[in-house]
Symmetry: C2
């Protein structure tokens, strides 16, 4: 469990995540989403529980957003659960990917894709980051997202693209002032509960 006690030296970022399509056809949804995404700027490994991508912040968010978006565009109820981390190298597996430039390889495809997201940001070993987070919350509202404080998390609702922008900016801003940052995100699309919520509003 060296991941929990490391001191960040490399600025390689990573995300360990799962995509869960709630359909009998889940294998095809996952495999075709993975096939449509350009992952050549990240280190990537998949096992029986999750997938881990590592590299520059921009590409970690690019790839996770693209995989979620491709799965969501099938119309199936899809959930993404991920933990983004930085400042916890442990090894040098992915260091070669830090030489990539910041140009994202995947173009946004989740146009008009409603989604809801619970996220929580943990700058480990730091107390003085509320200003940065409040700036990101304000920026999320400016993008048109609904923002709500809930137990243990903050809920974002709106365009999937705006949600991922908010997550990436919040993570990026926080890690500028903290060696080790962890952010959890659970994102849901095409849920029957979403439709009910939207009708009710």
């Amino acid at each position: 469990m060296s991941n929990n006690v490391c001191k960040g030296t490399s600025r390689i970022a990573g995300c360990r995540f799962s995509v869960h399509p709630m359909t009998d056809d889940f294998v095809n949804v996952i495999l075709s989403a993975l096939k449509e995404v350009d992952t050549s700027k990240v280190w990537l490994e998949t096992d029986d529980v999750s997938t881990c991508v590592r590299g520059k912040i921009a590409h970690v968010f690019d790839v996770t957003e693209a995989i979620f978006s491709h799965a969501a565009k099938t119309g199936h109820h899809v959930a993404f659960s991920g933990t983004y981390s930085i400042g916890c190298p442990g090894d040098t597996d992915g260091d070669v990917y830090m030489a990539e430039n910041n140009r994202k390889l995947n173009t946004p495809i989740a146009i008009n894709q409603y989604a809801a997201c619970d996220f929580a940001l943990y700058p480990l070993g730091s107390d003085s980051y509320m200003d940065k987070i409040m700036e990101q919350i304000e920026a999320a509202k400016q993008r048109g997202l609904t923002v709500e404080g809930i137990h243990y998390a903050t809920k974002l609702k709106g365009e999937a693209d705006d949600i991922f922008t908010t997550l990436e900016n919040a993570f990026t801003a926080t890690q500028e002032h903290n060696d080790h940052v962890v952010m959890t995100a659970s994102i849901s699309a095409n849920s029957p509960s979403h439709q009910k919520g939207e009708d009710d509003e």
Copy 2:
């Protein structure tokens, strides 16, 4: 985002989680799992992304294990993603549940249920907890679980019941020495990837 800067005063624990059955019948799997679980010793709230349970540590783990187990026994590929937290009250909604005794209300039903779990433990604002975690890793091995360090997490494989015991004990031991502890867990059952992995071994 007061959840991120609180100092723990109440010892109420909580878990924000989602259960994702990868079947067209996902709504029935979730609803019937919830119906079969006795949640009377926890505060509970469900929204469009996740469910939050709060109360004593024993009951938070009892209820989350029971919901996962009931969903898994349907035989469908089921994934559980949750974040367990303690030391972050923010409010007093669930405080009445802290008066419950520790007797768990749900009996183990996941007999012979293979599962795999990625978990990570974050004692916020602390560096000196490796001994406690190593004790828990050792105990997990004694239970017969396979334990493997992976990027950003530790992987457990074996009986679902043993996995939840390990999670509960690791969380309990760590929070005895840290005000604010967060633990993420992604648990998967009945996955086609699991079967492949088991055959390969």
